[in-house]
């Protein structure tokens, strides 16, 4: 096996293979337009919602056909990223990745500024969420939902363990864990296989521990410099020492099946889980009878002693949809504005059992736990984006894995910050 020969052959082929790209245009001469639309709802009501919405839109705009592709959430990022490489075959309207990834896409010219094309209604109704899709004062996406995080719990199991008030501080949370264990109930469900659910514990602790200034410093690419980041890791290590998580949490997935962490909560096999506001919808799908969990409660992440973060502040995400530069802009924007209409946003909230991005549509939220969240949303300053989304996938992945490592006893608390800073340097 002579490497030289291989290399020489390869180079000659490489020159040969610089094939001309052949792409198709979306707009045909007869005014018919096809919109390729990518989202990540592959099941149930969410999938049906998009199908119905697209059909209704096509009815109103006879010249437009919408080609839907629903892609499994865990594959979504990889597929979208590769598809956007080639503008000719990229999707026209797609669910954006958010945070640092959207910034990278703006830089690569893969998503367009839609500031001046958003309808007046949408601008007014989305006031609280448009900020998440705004970079340098330009809007790059139409929000559809808002998912603040917090701890979701079974009121029945809490009662059984003799916990009367949802914990407000880490100390109270520790007491709750002790009581639940005494009552032979698994205190916390954790989907460690997907890593991010475990990392959310760290994100929240650092969110309570660090000041807003520390967070914005980290987001600007300077790394995790302040001392509070290490303090949060120590806090998590101490919490983990009390063995609060379900058995085998390392191979428990977050949302797949009755054995997943959400499944454990839905089936009352664990008392609580730290998650985003998509949780009620997920629990509904995983409950034995397919109905919403009747005793579901919510409390925001507890405060920590001496923390510099605002104890009322919430962290979460805003899901929004963006347009690629090769899309027929007029039709794509009509579709986005249609999504944002209050009536459709109400449908969205029902289908997903979550918060619509449109303020005017929030009246349809009936789930008691979600209504509790709404109370806290009103108290909270601007919602902080999940730390991993904010930092981009390389630092995010490093954080996620190092947190799991620490929980499993394979790394020290200080390794978390080191790993994140190394990754920021690597990317």
């Amino acid at each position: 096996m002579r490497f030289k020969v291989i290399a020489a052959a390869a180079i000659s082929v490489a020159t040969l293979m610089s094939v001309a790209a052949c792409g198709g245009s979306n707009t045909a001469s007869d005014g018919k337009v096809e919109l390729e639309f990518w989202h990540n709802a592959t099941t149930g009501d969410g999938k049906a919602y998009w199908e119905n919405l697209a059909a209704a839109f096509e009815k109103k705009h006879q010249n437009v056909t919408i080609k839907i592709q629903a892609i499994q959430n865990e594959d979504y990022q990889g597929k979208l990223q590769t598809a956007l490489q080639d503008p000719n075959s990229a999707p026209d309207v797609y669910m954006s990745l958010g945070g640092q990834k959207t910034k990278d896409m703006i830089e690569a010219g893969q998503t367009i500024d839609i500031t001046s094309d958003i309808s007046a209604d949408a601008k007014k109704n989305m006031a609280s969420t448009l900020g998440a899709a705004t970079f340098d004062d330009k809007v790059y996406g139409m929000p559809v939902s808002m998912e603040p995080g917090g701890i979701w719990y079974s009121e029945d199991l809490f009662k059984k363990a003799g916990i009367t008030e949802p914990p407000k501080t880490m100390e109270e949370l520790n007491q709750a864990v002790t009581k639940l264990k005494a009552a032979n109930i698994t205190p916390v469900a954790l989907g460690g296989k997907d890593a991010w659910p475990a990392a959310h514990w760290y994100y929240w602790l650092s969110f309570r521990e660090c000041s807003a200034k520390d967070f914005s410093e980290a987001s600007s690419g300077k790394g995790l410099k302040a001392d509070c980041w290490n303090k949060a890791a120590d806090q998590l290590e101490a919490f983990n020492k009390t063995n609060p998580f379900n058995n085998g949490y390392l191979t428990t997935s977050a949302q797949q099946g009755a054995g997943s962490s959400a499944g454990l909560l839905a089936n009352h096999k664990a008392a609580m889980e730290l998650m985003g506001a998509w949780e009620p919808g997920v629990l509904k799908d995983l409950s034995p009878d397919g109905k919403a969990m009747s005793d579901l409660g919510y409390f925001p992440f507890p405060s920590v002693d001496g923390g510099q973060g605002d104890p009322n502040a919430l962290m979460g995400s805003v899901t929004y949809y963006s347009v690629s530069p090769s899309a027929p802009k007029k039709e794509a924007m009509e579709f986005l504005n249609y999504m944002a209409e209050t009536k459709n946003q109400e449908g969205y909230a029902k289908a997903w059992n979550t918060f619509p991005a449109n303020d005017a549509a929030r009246g349809v939220v009936t789930d008691p736990a979600l209504k509790t969240v709404l109370e806290y949303v009103k108290k909270s300053p601007d919602m902080q984006l999940w730390l991993d989304t904010q930092l981009g996938s390389n630092a995010g992945t490093a954080l996620n894995t190092s947190v799991v490592n620490m929980l499993a006893g394979k790394g020290a608390a200080k390794d978390i910050v080191t790993a994140a800073n190394d990754a920021i340097a690597k990317g």
Binding site: M1, F3, C22, G78, T82, S89, G257, A258, D285
Partner: protein, 291 residues
């Protein structure tokens, strides 16, 4: 030649068979049964699981179906998804196999039977392909296929699979073709057969055992291939069965029994195919490993 010797000739590798017991050693059977249990146990578990209900699985993960339910399997069989994915898998599997076998046979013939300067280089080049898993080249491969307009098509899976299947097949076929005696070729030449004529009339029929082996291995490889379809195909109507299994198990994540039923159905065609052709595998490999 005594009858004892000719009798001994039949049983292989020195196992002394007692003529009184035509069944052979009971220990052999016991070990064989144990071996089979280990090999097919998990597969049987999956198939049986499809006959159970979710409650049965949750309450007793290791139990037998009680009662036996066939609704999971009926649901799979009556779903369009399964059949579409089955057809896709068959198309991809057959075309990949044919492509790999035809191209490899041609190039292996050149490497094995032609005396020319670059024969060794060519062989090394293909052999080096073994060192490179498809995972590694997936992003550039995807971009290339997109540029060729083949992303999200079955051809976009078939063509790279053919290319990545070549090294293994060539490595098995070249020694195989070398074992065809030189005299045959000379005889063919005397009869006025050209080299190509020799290839078509003699080499192809003679290499059938090797072709069968590599063909089966390629077909199974394609049937099970996961990474490439995962990255190439985004339209569910083009999914192959492994992707289908993945998608089905995430869509019906609560419904373990249905997932098991779907999973069983997706492996059964490959098992049947293999059962039919398994005899040929050993034959083809004999030639290859002898070399």
């Amino acid at each position: 030649m005594s009858s004892a010797v000719s009798y001994g000739r039949k049983d292989k590798n020195g196992y002394r068979k007692s003529p009184k017991n035509p069944w052979g050693n009971p220990v052999v059977y016991f070990i064989s049964l144990l071996l089979i249990a280990i090999c097919i146990g998990p597969v049987v578990y999956i198939i049986l699981g499809g006959f159970r209900s979710n409650a049965q699985i949750t309450n007793d993960p290791a139990g037998m179906p009680n009662p036996w339910l066939n609704k999971n399997y009926l649901a799979v069989l009556s779903s369009n998804t399964f059949w579409v994915e089955l057809v896709n898998s068959v198309i991809v599997g057959l075309l990949t196999t044919i492509g790999v076998v035809v191209l490899s046979l041609m190039v292996s013939f050149v490497i094995a039977r032609y005396d020319f300067k670059y024969s060794k280089v060519m062989y090394s080049l293909f052999a080096a392909g073994l060192m490179f898993p498809m995972t590694v080249a997936i992003t550039p491969l995807y971009l290339l296929l997109r540029n060729l307009g083949l992303a999200n098509t079955l051809a976009g899976v078939i063509l790279p699979q053919i290319a990545f299947g070549l090294p293994q097949t060539i490595i098995i076929l070249v020694p195989f073709l070398k074992t065809i005696p030189q005299e045959l070729e000379e005889a063919a030449a005397l009869d006025g057969c050209s080299r190509l004529g020799f290839f078509v009339r003699m080499v192809i029929p003679l290499s059938m055992p090797g072709v069968a082996t590599t063909g089966i291995l390629q077909f199974i490889g394609s049937w099970n291939s996961y990474m490439l379809p995962l990255f190439m195909l985004s339209d569910p109507s083009k999914y192959t069965l492994p992707l289908g299994v993945q998608m089905f198990s995430s869509q019906h994540s609560v419904d373990t029994a249905s997932v098991l039923a779907f999973t069983s159905m997706s492996m059964i065609p490959a098992l049947i195919f293999f059962t039919i052709f398994q005899k040929r595998i050993v034959g083809g490999l004999t030639g290859a490993v002898k070399g």
